[in-house]
């Protein structure tokens, strides 16, 4: 990203790239455990996608601020991992507490997926990528949300396919996770086609 000034089209390209070309799940291998765990049913998958989008939309910018105003000035870059994961863990726990108190329906729909997010490498991974790609604050927000949407897209596609597994005669030993992984591979293969979108 060597442009100094970013135009609208650059942001569009960033979003397209994060969702399709470098899909966080299928191309970058981040967030696979919840991917396989929560893609068995469409409603679960959708809730998880929403929860991840919300958390990443918040923690992406927060970690960026921590990096910029705490770690860089005091030359503590080696503590990045520690500071980021601590922030994410605490943030997720806080949000869970708040949602549980203020809205039971929302908690049933979203909150119960929050503990899964702490251990979701897609979240921490995206925070690292924000720093690695030297994004500014706005780009960080856009990239974080777009990455989470890419995660959600892959999750929902997978859930749609896995719901249909019920109709298929899958050999017993390959049922569930095994066929899930193979399917994920095939989805990933089809996402290769999007690489033509980038220059």
């Amino acid at each position: 990203m060597h442009h100094e000034v970013w135009h609208f089209s650059d942001y569009v390209m960033l979003v397209v790239s994060a969702i399709f070309i470098n899909n966080i799940l299928l191309a970058r291998f981040l967030g696979n455990c919840p991917f396989l765990g929560t893609s068995k049913r469409m409603d679960t998958a959708f809730s998880m996608a929403c929860a991840v989008t919300f958390v990443l939309g918040c923690t992406g910018p927060i970690t960026w601020l921590i990096e910029k105003y705490l770690l860089i000035p005091y030359d503590l870059l080696y503590l990045e991992t520690l500071a980021f994961i601590l922030t994410i863990a605490v943030f997720v726990q806080l949000v869970e507490m708040v949602i549980r108190k203020i809205s039971q329906p929302l908690y049933r729909a979203l909150g119960i997926y929050l503990p899964l997010i702490t251990t979701n490498c897609a979240v921490l991974g995206t925070c690292f990528l924000n720093i690695k790609e030297k994004f500014n604050f706005i780009q960080t927000i856009v990239f974080s949300v777009a990455s989470a949407m890419g995660f959600g897209l892959a999750l929902v596609i997978m859930a749609g396919i896995r719901e249909r597994f019920n109709f298929a005669r899958i050999p017993k030993n390959f049922q569930d996770t095994s066929i899930g992984l193979i399917t994920a591979g095939l989805i990933g293969l089809s996402f290769f086609a999007f690489q033509g979108l980038a220059k």
């Binding site: 030359d75 601590l86 922030t87 806080l94 119960i112 503990p115």
Partner: protein
Amino acid sequence: MEGILGATVYPVLVMGGLAAVFAVMLGVASRVFYVEVDPRIKAVEELLPGANCGGCGYAGCADCAAAIVRGEAPVNACVASPPEVYEKIAKLLGKTVEAKEPQVAHIMCRGTKDKAKIRFRYMGIEDCRAAVLVAGGDKECLYGCLGLGTCVKSCPFGALRMGENGIPVVDRDKCTGCGTCVRVCPRGVPKLIPASQKIVTVCNNHDAPPTVKKICEVGCLGCGICKKVCPEKAIEIVNFLSVVDPSKCNLCGKCIEKCPTGAIQQILPG
């Protein structure tokens, strides 16, 4: 403040500060946003591995624990736990088998293909529940076993197998008396009986005697001979079907002798 010790000042201050702020936030939030939860959920959660792997299909161990306590998920819902954990959870929730007379399922029909009359050739889906939708089933008898094995397929313990003549057979060693077969059978042919019951009327037909005579060679006619000959008055005729009360039965075997169709059977020796 020189040298290596000096270098530790900022990291310690920054991380310590961050941690202190977070700890205060969490501590305050945990009080302000305190929500009462069923202590059993917490207890079950303790027993689960806590890996939040999502393998059970629920969102994390806490959710799975809640589902187990609510009774939505089986005690063994967690795929990542060894059997000991299941036992512990069952104990915790008081879901152990109570000390009562164990029950087993028994197929209350002997109307095999050669004994019970068939009305037509059924050509539909291999499932009893679907078969009853087609003109009420292919047997003349509207109470008997259709023999398509829905109970066999649905038994979670593999305790049922299809016999040679199209009537399922219960493996009494494997049967836990869970009653799944009773629930799935569209005609209620399997019934739960006390595991010690030895004499049973193996029929489910409630038709009047002349009708039964016409449609099945081995059905209970509801003629009442067994009731008459029973010295212990252990047999009742309920809606043209004889029912043996095992608590009164003294195993004299007179009913078996006299039954014109052989519907009353001794199913256990002794």
